[in-house]
């Protein structure tokens, strides 16, 4: 049982893990003697190895991690609250400790928790603040001075939240709840044969893989430059998951559909079709060669850092980066043999992918990314069996309007639905509950539908869908009665 195994596990060297502080996540590989920068703190992960996932650590002097003891609330004596903010005049002079004082405390090795306590005691207005304002003050200062991180196992929830918060551009602003809809609308589950075409850093692929749990098969379609799997590698999937993951180049889709495709037409250009890390992913080029070297934290870097682990080697068909480094260590001859072996393997898998597609019986199609969805849908739906779902994500609404129209014209699909979701986060606190003050402006748009046998579907479905039917009012009335 993969699920139950996942939780009690211990942190091991080479794992793909996620650092967590408050609501901020960062995916990192667990490596020894490697400086990590996260939320303006630097530290080494060495001491985390052997602890159970979910453990919270405090960063201590020298950047070493120590498991944190129970979190103590500030002593209640200092929590003497005012009744309102009437008498508080903010003149910026309420804190008696200066910046230099605080710096001195830090240099003395005083822990974050104690610094916060000192700040409270040296605030002239703290006692006059309302309890609410006091809590806010403490929380703010804690966040600033306490260096606490938790190490957790990656998951679709965590990685999709992380990417949306840190690098939305890399995943075409696909919000996590929209991804959640895709997985359900696409009916992703163990045993499926799925076609995935995405340029969302491999996040969508990873989510599909997680939901299929290694059962079934996935054909990833990829554009020029090869499939992107920076986010996929952050999931830390077992090697076995990659056995049934296939790739097929988009540029061969038409020839496959017109039955002119053969593996023989490929050899000279096989290099072009090598799956590779995203070329536009600047972070790869900027990465220092030595893993001991400190790496700069940047908000545009949330992808799995460092080199590939052993486990992932089988999947990483063309981590040229790694290969280049290896070529320096190994003999040139050996390198060529290795290259040939890999190329052979690659070709074998390509043939298998082509064969899988040719069966035209995929259980679903997921499209997400920077390409215009219409041509993708019109072609790739050919590989999907009838009565199966498909979902297309686009950051913009307009292309999906067009896609909808084209699909309707072509026929062979029913239940076409264009939608978006609104996501509201709430603050739930005694006597001060309300929706969060900022919310995401949009999570992108989805077009979903179900394939049907063409000859039947064309006439019937077209006619039925042509009726303008809004949600029946009677149904909603019933609902209202049930809940109100």
């Amino acid at each position: 049982m993969e699920g139950s195994m996942g939780l009690g596990a211990r942190i091991q060297e080479g794992d793909c893990a996620v650092l967590k502080r408050d609501e901020v996540f960062k995916a990192v590989p667990i490596l020894k003697r490697r400086k990590v920068i996260f939320e303006k703190q630097w530290f080494y992960l060495d001491n985390a190895i052997g602890h159970i996932y979910g453990t919270t650590f405090e960063v201590t002097s020298g950047g070493s991690l120590q498991p944190k003891k129970e979190i103590e609330e500030p002593t209640t004596e200092t929590k003497e609250a005012g009744t309102d903010n009437r008498n508080i005049v903010d003149d910026g002079k309420s804190q008696k400790l200066t910046h230099d004082d605080i710096k001195a405390l830090k240099e003395k090795g005083i822990k974050g928790q104690e610094i916060v306590q000192q700040l409270i005691e040296n605030s002239t207005t703290f006692r006059d603040k309302t309890e609410f304002a006091q809590d806010k003050y403490i929380k703010k200062k804690k966040k600033k001075y306490e260096a606490v991180i938790t190490i957790v196992k990656p998951s679709t929830r965590i990685l999709s939240t992380m990417y949306y918060a840190r690098e939305p551009g890399k995943i075409n602003h696909l919000r996590y709840d929209t991804l959640a809809q895709m997985l359900t609308l696409g009916n992703i589950r163990a045993g499926n044969k799925m076609i995935v075409m995405e340029t969302c850093a491999g996040l969508v692929l990873g989510a599909v893989m997680e939901r299929m749990g290694g059962y079934g098969s996935i054909i990833q379609m990829y554009p020029q430059g090869g499939p992107v799997r920076a986010a996929t590698s952050c999931f830390g999937f077992p090697a076995s998951f990659f056995n049934s993951l296939y790739e097929f180049p988009l540029s061969k889709v038409d020839s496959l559909l017109s039955r002119t495709f053969s593996i023989e037409t490929l050899p000279s250009e096989s290099e072009d079709n090598i799956p590779a890390e995203e070329e536009s992913n600047g972070s790869l080029d900027e990465k220092p060669a030595s893993i001991q070297e400190t790496e700069e934290e940047s908000t545009t870097e949330a992808t799995m850092e460092g080199n590939q682990t052993e486990e992932q080697e089988t999947m990483d068909l063309a981590a040229e980066d790694t290969e280049n480094k290896e070529s320096k260590e190994k003999g040139n001859k050996e390198n060529i043999r290795e290259k040939q072996r890999k190329q052979q393997e690659r070709r074998k898998k390509l043939v298998e992918a082509a064969a899988l597609l040719k069966e035209k019986n995929a259980d679903g199609l997921i499209v997400a990314g920077r390409f215009h969805p219409t041509p993708l849908l019109l072609s790739l739906l050919e590989f999907v069996a009838p009565s199966r779902p498909f979902v297309v994500y686009c950051q913009y609404r307009e292309p999906l309007l067009e896609c909808y129209t084209k699909l309707r014209e072509k026929g062979g699909v029913i239940n076409l639905k264009l939608s978006e979701t609104w996501l509201r986060n709430y603050q739930v606190l005694p006597d001060r509950s309300h929706p969060k003050l900022t919310m995401s402006g949009g999570g992108g748009y989805l077009l979903s539908g179900i394939t049907v046998v063409m000859d039947k579907g064309k006439s019937d479905a077209g006619r039925l869908e042509a009726q303008k039917t809004e949600e029946p009012t009677s149904k909603k009335r019933k609902l209202e009665e049930l809940h109100s």
Binding site: G3, G8, M212, D363, R388, S419, S433, L464
Partner: protein, 264 residues
Amino acid sequence: MSFVEYGDTIQEGDTAIVFLGHESMFPVKVQHGSKTQTKTQILYSTDISLITMMLELKPGSIVCESGTGSGSLSHAIIRTVAPTGHLYTVEFHQQRAEKAMEEFREHKVEHLVTVKNQDVCKNGFGVSNMADAVFLDIPSPWEAIGHAKSALKVEGGRFCSFSPCIEQVQRTCLALEEHGFTEINTLEILLRVYNVRTISLQIPDLGKAAEDNSNPGFDSSNQANQGVMCGSQQQGTAQFKSGVPLREMVGHTGYLTFATKSLS
């Protein structure tokens, strides 16, 4: 065709979806000589999607749920955790529990689910330190937080409670905090569906004179621009495709409160 795998042809005993046009479909059991029956009201698919992902469900997950209700979420959970996971579902109402069991048998997923007819607030889920995730959709979820905690694995796990009213959420959040849950987060998700329509808007007659440039209000480039008006423009109207929101949409189903049981 099973609820957890695809089949190629419709067979006796299958549940099929009857498609009656846009936005109107319902599941029916394929059975010779029986009239099709509609099912009871179900939890919204939009919520189910978010619940499934935020609970980190996947093949192999052990999940506890209460109440079973119409079984719509149960079926979604089973589909996700199959073939190696398991669902423990607890239903207070006897008739519903029996109906659910019957349906699970009918859909051939009974090996993936255990149904218990008891009060989760009093008697819990009947499992301890086994679950990866717990889901509650009951009137007083705060009374079941202790049981949820003990059902979850020692190493921790995910929790979700679905409640229509904010007062339930307030009490649940307090109880979660008291029981040491972390990452307590209340969300609400709403689906906005757009109808894709071809719209024609009339171009107003401003009495444009024959000699066009005599009009000081339009610069010369303007005439050219009007030709680019998106979509085709014929006989005084402009046509375009529009994504038109439905006049009414579901405005609320419930609040989703998620939390993590941390390693203690």
